[in-house]
């Protein structure tokens, strides 16, 4: 079996370029005003996956859950060298928190079938939660390496992977049998440029939504199925899955499946203050936990 790597990717608003009119008076971001980009750490994740493919062969599948226009990012995955891209998109996924997102992603991954590795960015620049990767791994019941900065070795005979994981002031080296889900930091790899031949080929690749609107606007008598079939035959169809396709439970998806509720948004200005040393003993730890609970950081 050739190596199969799945990469979790997300299209995000470009929060690095926030100008005045993007912020709403209530402090939330007007996403429609921001250009959509390929989440930088997901690009690094795709690059790592492609390097493994360069070295060991195999296939790379890029998977995203997002709105229909996330297809633009999936095309970029094809330009970089992904073999297959999948758009999981359905109105009923809207307003998903990390729990509902990881639920949908794990269902989609199960629908894809066999895999050896899953890569994803450490976090997306719009949410900064770093939870979706770990939660997906948990739901799939597989090992996870977070904060991956380098893949050191992949042993396809023994079916193990060894990687370097960034920790504060250093790194640790982890090894695990496959399959493993790895979340990747931005410094792990600089994404490769688009391959111009793939660019000129896959600029024509389309999702079901795009094909549907093409059919709707066409003056010719064509059906969605005809065009889909043609796109599939030409290798230019971007697989588009809805809730039923991945066999997901509607109540676990989108807003319904999201226990996270935003209570209030506040501007917080962080300022450095005193730090406190806690003795490395049971009493010390208990004291620290007590304080954190008192400050409502825990509990």
């Amino acid at each position: 079996m050739p190596l199969h790597t799945i990469v979790l990717v997300k299209q995000v608003p470009d929060t690095s370029n926030i100008s005045g009119d993007v912020m709403r008076p209530d402090g939330t971001v007007n996403r429609a005003r921001l250009p959509a980009i390929f989440n930088p750490e997901d690009q690094a994740a795709l690059e790592l996956a492609l390097r493994l493919k360069d070295q060991y062969g195999g296939l790379v599948t890029a998977l995203t859950m997002g709105p229909p226009n996330a297809v633009n990012m999936l095309r970029e995955c094809l330009y970089m060298g992904a073999d297959r891209v999948i758009l999981v998109s359905d109105r009923r996924f809207a307003a998903a928190d990390t729990l509902a997102t990881s639920y949908a992603l794990h269902k989609a991954i199960q629908h894809i079938g066999d895999y050896d590795l899953i890569f994803g960015g450490r976090q997306a620049i719009d949410g900064d939660t770093a939870q979706v990767g770990p939660q997906t791994a948990e739901k799939l019941g597989i090992t996870q390496f977070t904060y991956t900065q380098e893949v050191l070795n992949l042993d396809l005979k023994q079916r193990t992977i060894r990687a370097k994981r960034a920790i504060k002031n250093g790194y640790e080296i982890l090894e695990s049998p496959l399959p493993v889900l790895l979340t990747v930091i931005k410094d792990a790899a600089r994404p490769r440029p688009f391959d111009v031949r793939k660019l000129c080929t896959y600029k024509r690749a389309q999702s079901k939504f795009e094909i549907q609107s093409y059919v709707d606007e066409s003056h010719d008598l064509i059906t969605l199925d005809q065009v889909l079939e043609k796109a599939r035959a030409d290798g230019l169809y971007i697989e588009t899955w809805n809730i039923e396709d991945i066999d997901a439970d509607v109540s676990m998806c989108g807003l319904a499946g999201s226990p996270t509720k935003v209570h209030k948004v506040e501007n917080v200005i962080l300022s450095g203050s005193e730090f406190k040393q806690v003795p490395a003993s049971t009493e010390g730890l208990n004291e620290m936990i007590g304080e954190l609970m008192q400050d409502h950081i825990f509990g």
Binding site: R192, L199, C200
Partner: protein, 575 residues
């Protein structure tokens, strides 16, 4: 940093107006390749969309990757030890990146793994790459080598070498010059001989070879024993294997990333390109024409980099309580730089188009011949484009590389003392640009190559038509100035011709080429000005300055001190 394609408005202007419809239709065989190659365009609109996307990738790599490494590449340079050349690290990374993007078979046909793009687009790419790092152009810009193989070699040789060039698996070197054969390539001594089975081998020493350590060498050698001139030379292709020894690399003023090698061939197995004796007179001339256009684009890229630095510095640097940009002398320097850059683009894209038109008329002629159809019409077209390309290519190389030198010179001037220091990029640009009016034929040789077309009047009909055109408002005044330049040119040319003195013509060729070039570029600028009102300012500055220069040239030709009659020794005798 920035994308050198999408964020350069002048390049965008030129790209949007470039008309390649006929060129692409022929090169794409009426868009029939899409069935076999999914990345081939379906029609012209689709092709242009591809071009824009491809150049955006080049602009991204040049602006956001290559430019970041250029300073270090210059500092480290490529090095030589134990017979091996090592590229500067950044340069290796640059090449890897260009390869990853699949940009190495730029000009080659798709059946050889190439992108099948015309020269016109290659010029955009070379300018951007050179703006990022001038020395990288000497690796990326050596694609004329594979193009020469594609044009002239046998099917077997093409099948063997071209896919390797397209995939970036091999790099190439153009191995022409020798210690005693620089500008005068007819003096090449490297020997090519055959064994009893007819296999060719090479022996001899070559010098000043850009990227001589390449995997594949295109070598000019003497195949006809006993001959002494260009007619005894043939062109060969060989691998840079163990029989090819790199003896040293040069320590240069600029483009330090690009290794310039002295190399020796020891009975190196080689294959003949095309037919014997045509090496210099046909193939190398074609190869050099392509390379000359590449160098003009390289000069343009370096000059653009220097201009951007100078423009920014003039805005930021304050003296006497205001930005130095506000001083007329500084502003004038920048305006001249900008006008030179934009008018150089006008010239180079017009040249690229002529070269592309020449190429497709060649292809059409071959096709019609093979089909047994009449080639009368196409032959006339071929002749027209050939004459124009043969004039415009050396004109571009000469005028753009000279202007680029001036731009880099002024960029340092604007920086003042700081520009002289290595901490500032203009210092590097100034060193890098210096070779562009020397290699692939000095400016003096370009003038000699261009003067024939000037005397014959290759663009006369075009100028006649332009003079009859109705221009309006400011353009009309400028058109009148161009008429005035033409009268000055005609007066000077007549004066030179009536002298019937070859030496005198050679002495004043540069001035005649200049003036003819003013006319050619001037009329193109008037066209541009009808599409974009800002361009009227560029046209105005260019044409008015050109008129002043034409007056000067004419005075110099018709009434200047004729140094041919002067006692040269007497002038040069004192140290």
């Amino acid at each position: 940093m920035s994308n050198f394609f999408t964020e350069n408005q002048d390049i965008q202007f030129q790209f949007k107006r470039i008309d390649l419809e006929e060129i692409i239709r022929v090169r794409e065989h009426d868009y029939t390749e899409a069935a076999e190659f999914p990345f081939a365009p379906l029609d012209y609109e689709d092709a242009k969309d591809n071009f824009s996307r491809i150049l955006e990738v080049v602009g991204d790599i040049a602006g956001n990757f290559v430019a970041e490494r250029a300073r270090e590449v210059d500092e480290l340079g490529s090095t030589f030890a134990d017979g091996e050349v090592t590229y500067a690290k950044g340069l290796e990374e640059d090449m890897q990146r260009l390869n990853q993007a699949g940009l190495m078979g730029f000009l080659l046909e798709r059946k050889y793994g190439g992108l099948n793009l015309p020269i016109s687009l290659y010029i955009f790419a070379v300018e951007m790459v050179s703006r990022g790092d001038a020395s990288l152009m000497n690796l990326f810009g050596l694609q004329d080598i594979s193009e020469t193989i594609e044009k002239f070699a046998s099917a077997e040789i093409k099948d063997e070498y071209l896919p390797k060039f397209s995939s970036g698996a091999v790099s190439g070197a153009m191995v022409l010059t020798e210690p005693d054969a620089g500008s005068d390539l007819q003096a090449v001594k490297t020997r090519a001989y055959q064994d009893d089975e007819g296999n060719w081998y090479l022996n001899g020493v070559k010098r000043f070879i850009t990227n001589g350590n390449a995997d594949v060498c295109l070598v000019l050698a003497r195949s006809e024993e006993g001959t002494r001139d260009g007619r005894g030379l043939s062109l060969f292709v060989c691998y840079g294997d163990d029989t090819v020894q790199i003896r040293r690399i040069e320590h240069k003023l600029g483009i330090k990333g690009s290794p310039t090698c002295e190399m020796q061939f020891h009975d190196t197995p080689a294959q003949l390109i095309g037919v014997r004796k045509r090496g210099l007179i046909s193939y190398v001339m074609a190869l050099m024409n392509g390379a000359r256009l590449g160098v003009a684009a390289q000069a343009l890229g370096i000059a653009q980099a220097a201009y951007v630095e100078a423009r920014r510095y003039a805005q930021e640097r304050e003296q006497f309580g205001k930005p130095i940009l506000n001083f007329p002398a500084v502003a004038e320097m920048l305006i001249k730089m900008k006008v030179d850059l934009e008018t150089s683009r006008t010239l180079i894209y017009s040249t690229g188009r002529a070269v592309d038109m020449l190429r497709i008329s060649e292809l059409e002629m071959e096709r019609l011949k093979a089909a047994g159809e009449s080639i009368t019409d196409i032959r006339a077209e071929f002749k027209h484009w050939k004459a124009l390309a043969d004039f415009l290519t050396p004109l571009s190389k000469y005028s753009i590389s000279e202007k680029a030198n001036r731009i880099c010179y002024d960029a340092i001037q604007i920086h003042g003392g700081t520009g002289y220091m290595q901490e500032f990029n203009v210092e590097r640009h100034y060193r890098d640009v210096r070779i562009t009016n020397i290699y692939e034929g000095t400016s003096q040789l370009q003038v000699i190559a261009a003067i024939g077309g000037v005397i014959k009047g290759v663009a006369d009909e075009q100028f006649d038509a332009n003079e009859l055109k109705e221009y309006r408002h400011e353009a009309r005044q400028l058109a009148n100035k161009l008429k005035q330049i033409r009268r000055l040119f005609t007066k000077s040319k007549t004066f030179v011709l009536e002298k019937e003195d070859k030496a005198y013509q050679e002495l004043h060729s540069a001035e005649l080429v200049d003036m003819y070039g003013f006319l050619y570029i001037g009329y193109l600028l008037l066209e541009e000005a009808t599409e974009d009102s800002r361009k009227m300012l560029i046209a105005k500055k260019y044409i008015m300055d050109s008129l002043a220069t034409a007056l000067h040239h004419t005075e110099s030709i018709t009434r200047g001190f004729d140094t041919l009659f002067a006692d040269v020794e007497q002038i040069l005798t004192r140290e």
